[in-house]
Subunit: 196 residues, 4 copies
DNA sequence: GATGAATGAGAATTCATTCAT
DNA sequence: GATGAATGAATTCTCATTCAT
């Protein structure tokens, strides 16, 4: 006897496929054009009518939120993996790099920060979990003497955001130059004694 | 009957005044509402008709470009002043702080980066001049031993942009927290020997 | 192989049950929300898919007509009962009050009057039967000296409609004030000699 | 030195003409099709683009309100004239007939009652003035012994609405039959002694 | 020259109805 | 037979830009 995993009955196979196509298309379109992209563009890329999208996502913001949520979930997942590792500083480093990477590949992720979309409970929850993860990593890194005592989790978020924003502006030709900037920033967080 | 050189014919006094009012209004409106602000809003604040704006600025982007250009000019001007000073590192520091300040106070300045507006020759020229100024300041700072040898002018621009972006997200609760981030970044640019 | 007469083939038991549930749901939903209610709402309340509704009722108007028809049938039934009574005037009185009551409780009944829905043969037939009943009651009431000679069945319908419309506006603060208005109207139909 | 009559400067001649055309078209279209009529229909009838309508009337409801307001103003005007006359009962009679007349000619007037449109201050004010007028006429009519003491202004409104609604349903062929119904109703309001 | 009126080209969203499973 | 997914055709509203005065 198998119990279905979802509260609601699973979607029909074709609907499931369409939903996936819509989400894929949305991810691509929003990534490329930012949150100003139209639902019609997403629909065209997905090969469905706009009404089909509105059936699953009552408003454009709902669609956008779904895309952003997935991005955030991915990062949180990476965060959990970082927590499982031994070296907190290394974990923080990797988490930030991975996050910036996905930030750079997705315009809407950046543009949606600070909009109403981000106020949704789902996203706030994920954000809270990510904050908690950073807090924990930071505490461990401090204990290991890898990070200055006065650095806060908010600082990390902000510096993450800072480097990510700069990375976004870099010409595609120099897309990876941001690693050096993150180096500088992370280096600046170490206790003076631990500077390389 | 000779055709006057259109570009250079001096504007009538009232037209001159209108142009100034339009630019002032545009600066304010775009600063407050970002590039999504409508031309009608600008016209209302300027106390002129929309058509008057379109007479001077054939498209909305032209108007936006004029505003951004002025912001950039201000920064370039600050850069020239920095060049005139003795301490290059100090000049660089001030220039960046001043720039971030104006960035934070003007939504459209940030939002227009990376859009077609920024590709205009005028802006590219100013950008080039700013780059040259930074280059020079950087060279002097290196000579003075205040900056690592491997730091480039692009690095400065990017780090400027990085901290500015973060600063934008901080508003308005922790207005000035970005100064700490810039401290970290600038500190990271010093040669190891010169670290505080 | 003979083709069964489509109209009369008895429905399968489950189909029969579904049909009843659809009609019940439609009655409730249209009563509460008026003719603007969506088919999807009816489907949800009935616990069936929208396609199931469209199988039985090719268009939304068909569904609406079925609901209105039933309301009208109920009134006609009341009319038949009135015919069976001895006092025609009293029967007319009761019939009108009963009709207004159901009018007030069902937004769609009112809203559909005067639309294409009401032109359907089924409804026209019922309307004709109701007219005939009123005609008969009226004739008897006149004979009994309870109604003026010049009053027509159409007058009754119209006055019914008049009071019902006003009653609809009264809701819900002064629910039952319409009884007074009907009193006035009915009193106005009596011969001068018979006035209270 | 002439003072302009309006707060805002008067519209340009062509705009004035267009505004009039829009209002005329709206009056016609809403009268014929009710409040469900689309702005596009009004625009087409007026010979302008829909955007032109939305420039003057930010929402469809604003347009509708303008139409209804004018209808109501006309009635209030008639009410003022009735107040100026000597015979209050006659004035009330005329006012009601005149109101029903315009009601019958305009579907939207009826349909908008009880919607959000009617909650607008402008309309509420007019409604209040009309109520006051009716109150005054009623008081005078009572004093003259033409109306029963227990009749209220609300009763008048409701009975007005009742007959008007019925009138609306009458076939165009019998469009004037409602006068008889109003006769019945008004007769019902007289003291028994004064019945004709 | 200046003005504000007019508009075409969208944008999000809705819903009766058809179709694939 | 039943279902819910898909959609085309509307509908309200917006805004940069052009035009008549």
């Amino acid at each position: 006897m198998t119990t279905p995993r979802l509260e609601e009955r699973p979607l029909r196979a074709d609907a499931q496929r369409n939903l996936a196509r819509i989400l894929d298309a949305a991810r691509e379109v929003f990534a490329e054009e930012g949150i100003e992209a139209t639902v019609a563009e997403v629909a065209e890329r997905a090969g469905v009518g706009t009404a089909t999208i509105f059936r699953r996502f009552p408003t454009k913001d709902d669609l956008l939120a779904a895309v952003v949520e997935q991005r955030l979930e991915d990062i949180v997942q990476k965060g959990r993996e970082a927590l499982a590792g031994k070296n907190a500083m290394k974990g923080l480093d990797r988490l930030m790099r991975w996050g910036i990477e996905s930030y750079v590949r997705d315009r809407c992720f950046c543009e949606s920060t600070g909009t109403a979309v981000f106020d949704r409970p789902n996203l706030q929850e994920l954000k809270a979990e990510l904050d908690a993860i950073i807090q924990e990593l930071l505490a461990r890194a401090k204990k290991a003497g890898d990070v200055r005592r006065d650095v806060t989790a908010t600082d990390i978020s902000m510096l993450f955001f800072a480097v990510a924003s700069a990375a976004l502006k870099l010409e595609p030709a120099h897309r990876d130059a941001w690693h050096r900037y993150l180096d500088i920033v992370l280096d600046g967080l170490r206790p003076a004694a631990a500077r390389r």
